[in-house]
Symmetry: C2
Subunit: 129 residues, 2 copies
């Protein structure tokens, strides 16, 4: 399974999880011709607005481009949303991290499974916020 | 230009208009495999959340399926968003209507240009709310 397909499956999985808990969740259409910053998923419940960048990996590290995360944060600031990076490692559950909790290796941002578990919250914790 | 293409162009046009006024606006990815209700566009600014169904027409009437509008309202209730139907008639500006202001012809909902102008607000009015 390619990275793109894996990404789409991961997004769908999260969207189902939100709806199952009476949240709305929408996949944002690929930026393509539009050049505006946008998250992968927008999830809402009664005035709570989450802007989520969504990654699933079979590796030990998940890398994110700085530009990608900066755009997530920029989007969230204008929208009044909370920016979150959702990461799922192989056979582990989703963890939701604040952008500032990612490791900055200079060129990229990254997260290990260990970091995701020490800094990230679970889905169950997230939806109780 | 087909209805589908016209619809996409109309959505893009509205998205540009929101970003130009320091709102975020995202096109929601086609429901396709996901069966959850969702609007065409989600527009946000600092805690304001708009769920928009978007229509442009060269006809005198714009019809909407009842199911389509019911889903918009259902989505908005869960999300804590304001549901709006955006309609643009040929060479006219966008008008934003509350779902309950559409005409109910029994089978469908509809809006004429006259109704859009008497009940709907303009984009400039909308973004000042």
């Amino acid at each position: 399974m390619g990275n793109k397909e894996k990404g789409s499956n991961a997004e769908r999985e999260l969207i189902h999880a939100f709806w199952a808990k009476q949240w709305t969740a929408c996949r944002v259409a690929g930026s393509g011709s539009m050049k505006y910053p946008s998250p992968d998923i927008i999830a809402n419940r009664q005035g709570i607005n989450l802007a989520i960048e969504c990654k699933a990996t079979n590796s030990k590290y998940q890398y994110l481009e700085k530009r990608e995360v900066e755009e997530l944060v920029a989007y969230a600031q204008i929208a009044g949303a909370r920016p979150l990076v959702a990461v799922r490692f192989f056979r582990k559950e989703w963890r939701f991290l604040n952008p500032e909790d990612l490791s900055d290796s200079g060129k990229n941002l990254s997260v290990t499974q260990e970091l995701s578990e020490s800094k990230g919250i679970t889905f169950e914790e997230l939806i109780k916020l």
